[in-house]
């Protein structure tokens, strides 16, 4: 059984934050969703202190083997999340990780303290890297800003903290080392890569927020390189993600040092993608001699 920062997981496949709404999925699929839950740990959509409507539509653009999104972190805010979403997410058959984003370090500290006080929560992911929102600076692109943010919130909760890194950084490994040095128990990557598309006839930006983040198969080689660089730079476990669509993609990320793997955009193509990828990964692993198997975390 994989262990992620001290939390026992039944398997190595998580969902990527913001790519699976277990509450909406339960409305669409009923309890059958829980009987064969596609992930071994559930990561919530990123929440913020204040409720957010998200960006104006259109929010999606399909690219060659991928997609751009400018969702803009719609969420009910901290109080709404704790009152309405957390009790429902606590009924999922797997440990819960809550993703949080603060627009300043005080907000982030408040989120970590409030979420960390809830016994339903096993892990907290610090989203330092969302490129869609005007944070002024992108904390996750800068080692010093990342270290300061993690240091500020470290004492607010006893739960493991996973720092989600931005791929839009000059040196993700340096940011990862800064997060680890400031007390992060793990790091996760990659988030979406900034991108843009124009309306086919007007040549105006297509997305309501003008630019967005690229995900899906198109980002897979970028993710593999960054996960390899980060895993080589830190001791803490690495959650690898970016374009994972098959057991082989998951095995690749594990081979370069990820402890566990998250599935994002592929779940849009099939809500059961996580389960299929787990099965494919298990088949790949059992087909190889034990000595060759990658680190399981």
């Amino acid at each position: 059984m994989p262990d992620l920062c001290g939390v026992q997981l039944r398997g190595p496949i998580l969902n990527a934050s913001g790519t699976f709404d277990a509450i909406a999925a339960r409305r669409a699929f009923g309890d059958a969703l829980l009987d064969a839950f596609p992930f071994d740990c559930f990561v919530s959509k990123t929440i913020t202190v204040a409720p957010r409507q998200g960006n104006p539509p259109p929010r999606l653009w399909e690219t060659a083997s991928g997609m751009l999104n400018s969702i803009g972190l719609p969420n009910k805010g901290l109080d709404g999340f704790l009152a309405h979403d957390l009790p429902e997410l606590a009924r999922l058959p797997v440990p819960l990780c809550v993703s949080v984003m603060g627009f300043d370090s005080g907000e982030l500290a408040r989120l970590v303290a409030a979420v960390g006080a809830r016994p339903e929560v096993a892990l907290i992911e610090l989203n330092l890297s969302c490129p869609n929102v005007e944070t002024g600076v992108l904390v996750g692109a800068d080692p010093d800003a990342t270290a300061a943010a993690v240091e500020r919130v470290r004492a607010e909760a006893e739960l493991p903290l996973i720092a989600k890194l931005s791929p839009n950084a000059a040196d993700p490994a340096a940011v990862a080392r800064a997060a680890e040095g400031a007390g992060a128990d793990g790091v996760s990557l990659i988030n979406t890569i900034r991108g843009m598309a124009l309306h086919p006839t007007t040549r105006e930006p297509w997305l309501g927020a003008r630019s967005g983040g690229l995900s899906g198969a198109a980002v897979r080689p970028v993710a593999l390189e960054q996960v390899a660089a980060v895993a080589a730079a830190v001791e803490v476990p690495v959650v690898g993600m970016g374009g994972v669509a098959s057991g082989r993609d998951a095995a690749d990320l594990l081979a370069v040092g990820a402890a566990v793997v998250a599935v994002g955009t592929e779940s849009f193509r099939d809500p059961a993608a996580g389960r299929r990828i787990s099965a494919e990964l298990a088949a790949i692993r059992s087909a190889r001699p034990a000595a060759e198997r990658g680190r399981v975390g």
């Binding site: 790519t19 699929f29 059958a32 060659a64 719609p74 198969a217 193509r269 099939d270 809500p271 059961a272």
Partner: protein, 276 residues
């Protein structure tokens, strides 16, 4: 915005493979019938499926289509035994996804997820159903008309099309829908909202159900608001997932942004905010 009183048949929680059993050209549209042996026999009219060709999806040379595409089912025929159904889809070629699906032939695999979203709610006592379809929006109107007929209700059906090629879709209807075309090649030369106004002014004790292009839906919404007639509108939006996972498919409503895939695609017209 959640209104779980509106009809919804649950989908199996995974993408499955159906077999195309019929594929043909219908005027300007393509019609495919898929044998979905695993899914429910009773999707609700207005619900939709996410479809992708089972093979060579993404083979148009530019890495698209990548995501599945949303389609209302146009007709359902339960399979013997109570499980599974033959599902008809009416397709309009507007890009790489619809083109690839239109190329499917009998025997080909079709990947599908659904039924998704909410369907049309039955009309309240004392109100007659008035169904309005524009273009490819005829698809959910067809299965809603089928279902009302099966319950012994003969609804008034008004359909609008660009011209004769598209109006071929009217031939799928069991009754005799009133057809309007932009060019007058079939039926009346009018916008479908003209006969709709006449119907509602003659007898406003109706509930309107409409699906079609945005300007048509906006005209229906405004007309029904003016005449104080309840209406349910089936909307479209660009979708990545179809089951509430991505938050990509939102439309503005009086309660803020709502996801078309899980909060719709059928919305009560009075919940929607007029588009600028």
């Amino acid at each position: 915005m959640t209104d779980d009183r509106r009809p919804r048949t649950l989908a199996p929680p995974e993408r499955r493979i159906a077999e195309v059993v019929e594929a043909r050209r219908l005027g300007a549209y393509d019609l495919i019938v898929a044998r979905d042996a695993i899914g429910p026999a009773n999707p609700r009219p207005g619900q939709f499926y996410m479809l992708a060709a089972g093979e060579r999806w993404g083979a148009d040379g530019d890495g698209r289509p990548y995501l599945p595409r949303a389609f209302s089912f146009a007709r359902v025929r339960p399979l013997p035994g109570g499980q599974g159904a033959d599902l008809s889809f009416l397709l309009e070629d507007v890009g790489p996804g619809t083109r690839r699906l239109g190329e499917l032939a009998a025997g080909d695999p079709l990947a599908l997820l659904g039924p998704l979203g909410h369907g049309f709610a039955p009309p309240p006592e004392g109100r007659r159903p008035l169904l309005v379809g524009g273009g490819i929006g005829a698809a959910p109107v067809l299965c809603w008309d089928d279902e009302l007929r099966a319950e012994g209700v003969e609804a008034t059906v008004l359909l609008g099309f660009r011209g004769a090629g598209h109006a071929a879709a009217a031939d799928l209807f069991v009754g005799a829908p009133e057809v309007c075309t932009d060019d007058g090649s079939v039926g009346r030369r009018a916008l479908v909202t003209e006969p709709l106004r006449a119907e509602l002014e003659a007898d406003p004790a109706a509930t309107v159900y409409a699906c079609g292009p945005e300007p048509m839906l906006e005209a229906v919404r405004a007309l029904c608001a003016e005449l104080d007639v309840p209406a349910e509108l089936a909307l479209e939006a660009g979708m990545a997932c179809g089951y509430g996972a991505c938050f990509g498919c939102v439309v503005p409503t009086v309660d803020g942004y709502a996801r078309v895939c899980v909060d719709g695609p059928v919305f009560p017209a009075d919940r929607l905010v007029a588009h600028a």
